[in-house]
């Protein structure tokens, strides 16, 4: 339960960054924190009490096309697969955001939101 | 059919004689009221003959030429469309040709002609007069329409003959007494219709020569003169039919129209003149309010 709460807290903290921080980089950091929170949530959703990693490489576990291990003792592999994708996507978004900020900085020599309120109304 | 035309001619000639006479009397009375001697009552006959005898020399254009014709035509038309003496073969005129609405609209015909001719002369004063006239018309027509519509609804007809016959049977059956307020409104409107003092700003004889006929002379003027006289008589007859119970014989018609005439003349002789907008405002207030009293009475009934 604490994992759920913590990851939710991370998400909210990240959101808080996006809502309140006036510095573009800090907003990006907020987004990253949010990503992390979600990733953590995904992983913790897949957890099974007393389970092992979903890698069945020991001979004792698999013979003659049948699984010898108790299925319920293997943690859910799907969230792990999902989180992999989610991480990469988070990285990609962060990279894009950073590149945009780099361009913005090169134009205005500033990374404060107050300097970027040209488009409005 | 043809004898009708003959009768019509008779009425026109008679009406003209009567109209010119009334005009003369009016001039005389006004002069006396002003402390002058004034012309003879036959002055208008003299003038007319003089004008007809004069040769017409110039014209300002087609419309200028046609206007007196229209004017004359309008006068004849109005006179012939109202029944002078009801149930008389001769003097009920062409009133079979139409009813009150027709008369009301045909009255404009002659005025329009005159206005057009006047404007064609190119004289600014002669154009000014029709605009004043039309404005004033918008003024006096409101009380007049109130009384006419009131009567039409009250008697459930727009036929003049029916209106007259509805008023038969004693003086108290006259609309003048049946609907006194409508009558007051109608008679005030009539003062405007005659464009005499205090509503004479249209012709304004002193300031802008003589209004529409400024540029006219000789024969043309005589036509207008004639038209105006006939028109006047027509209107007296109309008012007689509307309010004074019409006439059952010629004498009654003379008396009644003469009474109306005197009413107009005496008021004319006494009052100073309104400006156009003052006249319009006047017409839209007092006579309208007075007329509406009866109008609403009829509406509720």
């Amino acid at each position: 339960m604490i994992f759920f709460g913590a990851s939710l807290l991370l998400i909210l903290i990240g959101l808080y960054g996006a809502l309140v921080k006036r510095n573009l980089i800090k907003i990006i950091i907020g987004l990253s924190i949010m990503d992390t929170g979600i990733n953590m949530l995904i992983i913790s959703l897949g957890f099974v009490k007393g389970g092992t990693a979903p890698i069945i490489s020991l001979k004792s576990l698999f013979q003659k096309n049948s699984l010898l291990v108790d299925v319920s003792k293997i943690v859910d592999p799907l969230p792990q697969a999902l989180v992999l994708t989610a991480i990469v996507i988070g990285v990609a978004v962060t990279a894009m955001a950073l590149s945009v900020v780099i361009r913005m900085y090169s134009v205005k020599k500033s990374i404060e939101i107050d300097d970027f309120k040209e488009l409005k109304w | 059919m043809w004898y009708k035309i003959l009768y019509g001619l008779l009425v026109v000639v008679g009406g003209l004689a009567y109209g010119l006479l009334l005009g003369g009397i009016s001039r005389k009375i006004t002069a006396r009221l002003h402390g002058r001697r004034g012309p003879t009552v036959f002055q208008n006959y003299i003038d007319l003959i003089k004008l007809i005898r004069k040769k017409t020399a110039i014209s300002h254009g087609t419309m200028f030429f046609l206007a007196p014709m229209f004017r004359l035509l309008g006068g004849i038309g109005v006179l012939l469309l109202v029944p002078i003496v009801t149930k008389s073969a001769i003097l009920s005129n062409f009133s079979f040709g139409g009813d009150l609405i027709v008369v009301l609209y045909f009255m404009v015909f002659g005025c329009l002609g005159m206005a057009l001719g006047a404007a064609d002369s190119g004289h600014p004063h002669s154009a000014l007069a029709p605009t004043r006239g039309l404005a004033q018309m918008a003024g006096y027509e409101l009380p007049f329409l109130i009384s006419v519509i009131g009567l039409a609804i009250a008697h459930n007809t727009v036929s003049l003959g029916t209106l007259v016959s509805a008023q038969q049977g004693g003086i108290l059956h006259w609309n003048l007494f049946q609907y006194p307020f409508l009558s007051i409104a109608g008679f005030i409107a009539m003062l405007g219709m005659y464009m005499a003092y205090p509503f004479s700003v249209v012709m304004a004889p002193q300031e802008i020569a003589v209004g529409p006929p400024t540029e006219y002379s000789s024969t043309f003027l005589s036509f207008m003169f004639t038209g105006r006289s006939l028109f006047g008589v027509g209107k007296y007859v109309l008012f007689m039919d509307l309010f004074l119970g019409g006439a059952t014989n010629l004498l009654e018609a003379f008396v009644k129209t003469f009474a109306i005439f005197l009413f107009v003349v005496f008021i004319t002789g006494v009052f100073p003149r309104y400006r156009t907008e003052q006249a319009v405002k006047f017409f839209w207030t007092y006579p309208v309010v007075i007329g509406l009293i009866d109008f609403i009475r009829i509406f509720i009934k």
Binding site: V20, L45, I55, D76, V91, A95, S106 | -
Partner: protein, 230 residues
Amino acid sequence: MRKIVAIVFLAIIGFYIISIFSAFQFGDKYKGVSEHYVKEGIIENRGANLVTSIVVNYRGFDTLGEVTVLFLAATGLSFLLFSCKCEREFKRIKSSLVLRTATDTLFPMILLFGAYIFIHGHLTPGGGFQGGSVIASGVMLLFLSFRSFHPNHKTLSTIEVLAGISFAGIGLLGLVYAKSFLANSVLPLGQWNRLISAGVIPLIYIAVGLKVGAELSGLISDMISTTKED
């Protein structure tokens, strides 16, 4: 003011979201498709690493998308940063001797380790992305150590392209041979827990590893370099 409003509304959202966790017991058993993956995963794919089976095979389409996202990020980044046709410039401070010497030794090993990770993706923890990232970290080390280092972008993109095409191509092969995209029946599945097993999974992971490595390297290089100021 803004902070207070933010906290209030975030608290409301948090309040509602947290309410759902009461329905999910932490560490609870799972049901549904994962059961299938765990039970049948090895039988169907012969890959020891179930996560890899899922990533590459069951949800290979996601991975293709994931690769695309990364590719997109790399392309977009260079598209944005070098939109003007200026010269590129690398401004870096000189690094210490220790770092350089260490890099000399470590770099090949890092590369090797990265390659190991993605080649053994179907057997051990790790896989294409992880391996690729390790490789990119080696390249980053190069950037940090050698001032004059800049990667050959042509080579990088060639690797990237070939890897990408082979991933999609393998998928299409599956369509041709097994009537379904990314089907794992082009190659024989082989024996469980062997290096050469699990059909096309290792091949795909190799392609992914190379691609991710090249892309991340390119990304790093793009971020470090700046356009020359006039």
